[in-house]
């Protein structure tokens, strides 16, 4: 071990450079050990006190959200020729359904305009033609898996990218019973294997009703690790969530969360963040984007989804990321794939390739649509049908990992990949 000129950091380095075997032996990390893949070379722990660490919120749009509607490329003529019935009218059209231009090429449809304040404040960045480069899977289940696990085309990976970040970083709060949660019924792959993480679909309602608490603690203390951790962490989490007043929480800056499940999830995350209970990562799903038929980009199914979606994110931005009480936090949105350039025979779209990502927060270099636009004419489409992927989702997530999460373990969190940062984050 080489001596560092400043001397005092040598023990820090030794601590940080644990190999896998030592990692497994460190008792308190035993849960975290299972998050690490067998090919783990060396872990360099992100120390909470000497690196930047935002709270991270991961939002997953399930079903393959149509990026060509979410952030429509009105500047590409093939957008209109390929989508005669479902394209959003141009910003300069007279139709009341026209989009709002973000620049001279991309626009937001009417039902996404709730995101304009965050965009214009420079805290929302949009990435177009984004997707998964090293797989061309159009299977929901595979594409979701590959994205969430941070490695395409590999069925041996059993953990999520965010889980591996948490496993390779010391907790922001060493005493926190819960570092991360998935606001879903069952643990989503993004957080699978994360230490001190639970699926809690309704944090505002996570209580315990049993006189057998102590006996169960003892019994589960000897149980199979995932259940033991769920029991132990669950009990501790119940106690700490009980201390938060979800019902009477007043969002800052006049933000208003609607009553739907997604908006309420965002609200719960805000409450937990404000409560400073040690939660440093949250994952939320928003499903229903698999619009094969009667997509309804205007006034229909997708419009309703986009309205709810954008309003919930806007409320969260207003509440948590604004003003003097803003928090060090970054939110990212991804989807497993986008959808076809051309509409199908049922006024919808089928599974495609590139879609859209969003990044939102005070540290985002926002107010722009970042795109390496490959075009929508048939000759440049992948398989003659789909927008090509020119930005990999890992390019964005890896930049987030390094710059906002202070975690240098790229090769563990996004193995076998050399990310190309796009300047999304400060």
């Amino acid at each position: 071990m080489s001596t560092n000129p400043s001397g005092e950091t040598q023990s820090c380095q030794e601590y940080q450079q644990l190999n896998r075997r030592r990692f497994l032996e460190v008792g308190s990390m035993s849960a975290a050990a299972s998050a690490l893949p067998a090919w783990l070379p060396e872990v360099r722990f992100a120390q909470s006190q000497d690196s930047v660490r935002d709270i991270v919120v991961s939002v997953f749009m399930r079903g393959g959200a149509d990026g060509l509607t979410l952030v429509a490329p009105f500047g590409d003529p093939a957008y209109y020729t390929g989508r005669p019935t479902i394209a959003i009218p141009r910003p300069d059209a007279t139709s009341p359904n026209r989009g709002t231009a973000l620049n001279d090429f991309f626009m937001l449809p009417p039902s996404m305009t709730s995101l304009l304040p965050a965009y214009r404040a420079g805290q929302l960045a949009i990435l177009q033609a984004t997707g998964q480069r090293n797989t061309n899977s159009r299977s929901h289940f595979d594409a979701e898996r590959f994205l969430e696990q941070g490695k395409p085309d590999d069925y041996s990976v059993e953990t999520g990218w965010l889980a591996r970040h948490l496993a390779t970083s010391t907790p922001l709060d060493a005493a926190a019973p819960l570092r991360a949660l998935s606001l879903t019924f069952g643990m989503k792959r993004t957080l699978l294997g994360a230490p001190k993480a639970l699926p809690i679909p309704r944090p505002s309602n996570f209580s315990l009703n049993t006189p057998n608490e102590l006996a169960l603690q003892r019994l589960f203390g000897g149980a199979w690790a995932p259940m033991r951790n769920a029991a132990t962490d669950g009990l501790a989490t119940v106690n700490i969530l009980r201390s938060l007043d979800f019902d009477n929480y007043r969002p800052a800056n006049g933000a208003l969360y609607e009553s739907n499940f997604f908006a309420q999830s965002m609200r719960s995350i805000a409450v937990m963040i404000r409560g400073e209970i040690g939660v440093e990562a949250a994952h939320v799903d928003y499903g229903g984007w698999d619009t094969h038929a009667e997509q309804g980009s205007i006034g229909g199914t997708m419009a309703t989804l986009m309205t709810e979606f954008s309003r919930a994110l806007a409320a969260f931005w207003q509440d948590i990321m604004q003003g003097p009480q803003s928090v060090r936090i970054t939110l990212v949105v991804a989807t497993e794939f986008g959808r076809n350039a051309r509409e199908n025979g049922t006024q919808g779209t089928d599974h495609g390739r590139a879609g859209v990502m969003f990044a939102m927060g005070p540290a985002v270099v926002g107010g722009r649509v970042i795109a390496d636009w490959p075009g929508l004419s048939r000759d440049v489409l992948e398989d003659g049908q789909d927008l090509r992927v020119t930005i990999d989702t890992r390019d964005v997530l890896a930049e987030l990992l390094q710059k906002r999460l202070g975690n240098a373990n790229q090769s563990i969190v996004f193995p076998s990949y050399q990310p190309r940062f796009r300047g999304v984050f400060r």
Binding site: S30, D142, E158, G186, W224, G234, A293, G345
Partner: protein
Amino acid sequence: MDSSTSASTSTSSRRDWLRSGAAAIGAAALAAPLLPDTLEAQSTRPPNTSRIGGLLNQLGQQAQWRSTELRLVRRITQGLTEAEVARVRALGYDAYLEEQLNPSRIDDSAMEARVQASYARMLALTPRQLSDTGPAGTHFFDHVRPRQSLTAERAIFSRRQLQERMFEFWSDHQHVLLNDQAFFATIHHERIIRPNVLGTVGDMVRAGMRSGSMLSYLDQVRSTRFGINENYARELLELHTIGVDGGFTQEDVIGLTRVLTGWSINFSTLEFEYKAGNHDFSAKSVLGLSFPARAQATAGNAGMDEGIAVGEMLIRHPSTKRYTATKLLRWFVTPTPSEAQVQAVVAAYGTEGDVKAMLRVVLSRANLTKAPAKLKRPFHYAVSTLRATGARVNPVVDVRRDYNTMSFSSADMGHDIGNWGTPDGYPDRADFWAGLIVDRWNVVNAHLVQVDNNSPGRAVIDLASFVGNGTVDAFIGNVRRRLFADEMSSELEVELRYALRSGVTNTRALNALRLAVCAPEFHFY
């Protein structure tokens, strides 16, 4: 705890309900769980470096499982009961399995009477009649709730238990979203799935291709030569037959989409109907099967032969055999079946996919003896609790208001019967479900283990049958026998004795019973 998933849905719109269900979409159904690496490591690691707290790891969950017959009962029922235990002891492993593989040999008249009493009218209706039941907007209470209730009730009370396990397996495999399909799901479950659960893969695939509900759910009925939609064709390949790695390409998906144009429903009767006028008669190919261009027909079954031929090819496809065999092994035996295990089941497939023959191989003594304990999914956990405790369930009076323990309890633990948001069905992965432990404890205490409750829909235990003569030994003996078939851990016994250290009262007995149900080992089978 807000256990009123039911209450919230009765006032929100169908779309909102759908959305919150759709939010529970998960990853691949065939993903191996987190566990195996850790498990193998635990089994070879010396005791003093094992997990804190001792040896009750997942392997240890079955440290007290000695009997192979009981392992069989745990795996092929929705929860062991004294009656099933007695049956397997009377018949022996092979004869008991054979009996369960042939449900018509099992007298299920009590279950049939229950079905007649509550569901006979619904089950006798045609698709159109079902669709017309009740004014618009009541389908949730007319169809969704009863379907969930019937599914749970059969799992709890039927003596044809393997048939119910296989129904659960196949209804996940060819899953339709209940909230979306409502009355149509009844047709799908009763006419397409149920008759074939212990039949052949071939019949299941053929039936599925003619399921009005499936064709409607996955947009097939709208996919025509005037405008195609690839949703169903993709899932037919990826989920119902050859699997995501079965060797198909995007071109095959498009080809199959065009092959299947015309496969639709009659919009009056809502029965399956092939519409030649919607069929694309141009040349196409799917997985090496080529169809030449032909003249457009507008009547009869011209062109239907293409879909039939592809169906037959898929049924016999090596990937379908493998995919089915692997899924059955995962359902009954282990999350990581060996190549040898898979091949043995594939060998039993034959040309048609003989489910019984495959199950005899899947459920061999050799397989079950070394099978790691499996985590019950919430539905299974709820059902097994009601079965083991011998609960009776009060009939529901007001379907809009009463808490129907049989089905709501499962939903409150994250497993809303029939409402997994995507066509791949609920995951059967321990790492997906393991985190929801607190939810299970809450539901046990609030709903599943109850006494003196005459409210409609509520479960009621005969606590006196557990208390017996009032001694601690009697109570523990009853718990050990009825919940665990006499294979209960000493750790749990210690806790039960401690809970009853001041003697058995009704309150203490009830809490002790809840403790036994909540204990780690009751979550496994």
